[in-house]
C-alpha cells in the first residue's frame, strides 16, 4: 500500500514539474509533427499508400520521439542532485521507477492523442470509428516504451554521450513493440477494421516481462 501512496505522490511531482513548463511535451509534439510531414515526401501519400505505410511511420515517429522525451527522466535528478533525496524519501525504490514510467507513459499517450487527428487529416485515414481500439493499442505500446525507456534512462544518465546512448540502447530493444503496434494499428486502419488480439498479446507480454524485470532488478540501478 505504501508503494502506491509513494508512487502517487512522486507521479504528482513528475507531472507537476512537466506541466509547469510544458517544455518537453511541446517540443516532442512539434518533433513528431515534423517527422510526420517529412515522411510524406518519401512516398506518395494517397489513401491506399497511406494505409500501407501510415501505421509504420506513425509508430516509428513515436519511438524516435519517445527516445528523446524520456532522456531527461533521470538526468534531471542527477543534475539537480536530487536522486539521493528521492531514494531516502521512499521505502521501495521501485516507486521512483513506477512514478517516472507512469509520467512518461502519460506524456506519450497525450502526444499520441493530440497527433492522431492531425495524422488522420494529413494522411487521409479514418480513425474516428476505431478510436477506442486505437487507444488500447497506444496504451499498451506506450506502456512498453515507457517501462524500457525509463529503466534505460537511469542507465544512460550515468554514462558519457548520453543523448546518443539512450536511442542506441532503446530502439533495438523496442523491435517487438514496433512490429506489434504497427501491425495492430494497420489492422484497425484497414478497410475492414479488426482488433488483432495476437498482436495485443505480444504487447502485453512485452509490458509484463519488462515491468517484472524492472521490479526485480531496478533498485540496483539507483545505488549511489
Amino acid at each position: 500500500m505504501r508503494l502506491f501512496a509513494n508512487t502517487a505522490a512522486l507521479l504528482g511531482k513528475e507531472l507537476q514539474t512537466e506541466f509547469r513548463s510544458r517544455e518537453l511535451l511541446t517540443t516532442t509534439i512539434v518533433f513528431v509533427l515534423i517527422v510526420i510531414v517529412l515522411f510524406s515526401f518519401t512516398f506518395d501519400p494517397s489513401v491506399s499508400e497511406s494505409r500501407r505505410f501510415g501505421p509504420g511511420l506513425l509508430w516509428l515517429a513515436f519511438l524516435f520521439s519517445a527516445s528523446l522525451m524520456i532522456q531527461p527522466s533521470f538526468l534531471k535528478e542527477r543534475t539537480n542532485d536530487t536522486l539521493s533525496a528521492l531514494r531516502l524519501s521512499v521505502g521501495d525504490p521501485f516507486a521512483i521507477f513506477l512514478a517516472k514510467l507512469l509520467a512518461n507513459a502519460c506524456m506519450l499517450l497525450l502526444t499520441q492523442l493530440l497527433l492522431l487527428p492531425i495524422f488522420a487529416v494529413l494522411y487521409n485515414v479514418r480513425v474516428f470509428p476505431v478510436f477506442p481500439q486505437l487507444m488500447l493499442v497506444f496504451l499498451l505500446g506506450s506502456t512498453g516504451v515507457a517501462v524500457t525507456g525509463t529503466a534505460l534512462s537511469a542507465i544512460s544518465a550515468q554514462a558519457r554521450m548520453r543523448e546518443l546512448l539512450l536511442p542506441l540502447l532503446l530502439l533495438p530493444l523496442l523491435v517487438p513493440i514496433l512490429i506489434a503496434s504497427t501491425e495492430a494499428t494497420a489492422a484497425l486502419l484497414d478497410e475492414k477494421p479488426a482488433l488483432r488480439w495476437d498482436w495485443l498479446g505480444i504487447l502485453v507480454a512485452f509490458d509484463v516481462v519488462f515491468l517484472t524485470a524492472l521490479w526485480l532488478f531496478g533498485e540496483y540501478l539507483l545505488e549511489e
Partner: protein, 224 residues
C-alpha cells in the same frame, strides 16, 4: 598456466584444421547448390555458438547483480564480445551463401532479421560498456542491460517470426533429409567452433582480469 593454454590452443587449431579439411573434402558436394553450400559448415554452427555465448553472458550478468564479484562481469563481457564476433561471421557468411542460392544477398526473412536485431542489441551492449569509466558502475549497469537484452531475445524472435510468416516468405528452410556424412561434418564443425569459443572467452577473460590487476597496481602507485 601458460603451458595449459598453449596445449588447449594447439588442440583447437588441430580441431579447426580437421573441420576445414572435412568440410571441403569429406562432405559430399550438394547436388543443387554445389560448392557454395560448404559455407554452411561455418555459417550454421557459428549461429548456434553465438547464441550459446549470449546465454553465458546473460548468466554472467545475473550472477554479477546478485554476487557483485567482478569475475562474473568479466565472464559476461568476454562472452558477449565473442558472441558478437560469431554473430558477425553468421551475418557475413549468410549473404555469400544466399546470393548464389537464392539470387539475393539479403532477404528480410524471420531468421535473418532476428539475427541482425540480436547483433545490434549486443553491439549496443558493448558500446554502453565503453561509455562508463567507473568499473563497478559499468559492471552493474551493463549487467542490467544484459538481462534486458536477453529477455528481449524471445520477444524479438516471436514477433518477427509471427510477422514474417504472415507475409509471403521468400525462403524455405528445409533441413530434412540431410546426408549422413554432411550431418557428421556439421556436428564436428559445431564441436570445434564451441571449443574455439571457449578458448576465446577464456583468453578475453584473462585479459580483463589482467586489466583489473593493472588498474589496482596503478592506483597503489598513485597512492604512494
Amino acid at each position: 598456466m601458460i603451458a595449459k593454454t598453449g596445449v588447449y590452443t594447439f588442440l583447437v587449431c588441430v580441431l579447426m584444421s580437421v573441420t576445414a579439411y572435412a568440410s571441403f573434402y569429406v562432405a559430399p558436394t550438394e547436388s543443387t547448390m554445389g560448392l557454395v553450400q560448404r559455407i554452411f559448415y561455418l555459417h550454421a554452427p557459428s549461429g548456434m555458438v553465438s547464441l550459446m555465448a549470449f546465454l553465458v553472458s546473460c548468466i554472467g550478468s545475473v550472477a554479477y547483480i546478485f554476487t557483485r564479484k567482478a569475475k562474473w562481469d568479466w565472464l559476461a563481457v568476454s562472452s558477449a564480445e565473442v558472441g558478437v564476433a560469431f554473430c558477425t561471421v553468421v551475418l557475413l557468411t549468410g549473404p555469400i551463401w544466399a546470393h548464389p542460392a537464392w539470387g539475393v544477398w539479403w532477404a528480410w526473412d524471420a531468421r535473418l532479421t532476428s539475427t541482425l536485431v540480436l547483433w545490434l542489441l549486443y553491439v549496443a551492449y558493448l558500446i554502453l560498456r565503453t561509455m562508463m569509466e567507473d568499473a563497478d558502475r559499468r559492471a552493474l549497469v551493463s549487467a542490467f542491460f544484459g538481462v534486458f537484452t536477453f529477455l528481449d531475445v524471445p520477444l524479438v524472435y516471436g514477433s518477427i517470426w509471427w510477422w514474417r510468416t504472415q507475409h509471403p516468405q521468400p525462403v524455405v528452410f528445409t533441413s530434412a533429409g540431410l546426408d549422413p556424412t554432411m550431418r557428421k561434418v556439421f556436428y564436428l564443425s559445431w564441436l570445434s567452433l564451441t571449443c574455439l569459443m571457449a578458448l576465446l572467452v577464456r583468453q578475453r577473460y584473462e585479459l580483463e582480469s589482467s586489466r583489473e590487476e593493472l588498474r589496482t597496481l596503478e592506483q597503489e602507485l598513485e597512492a604512494n
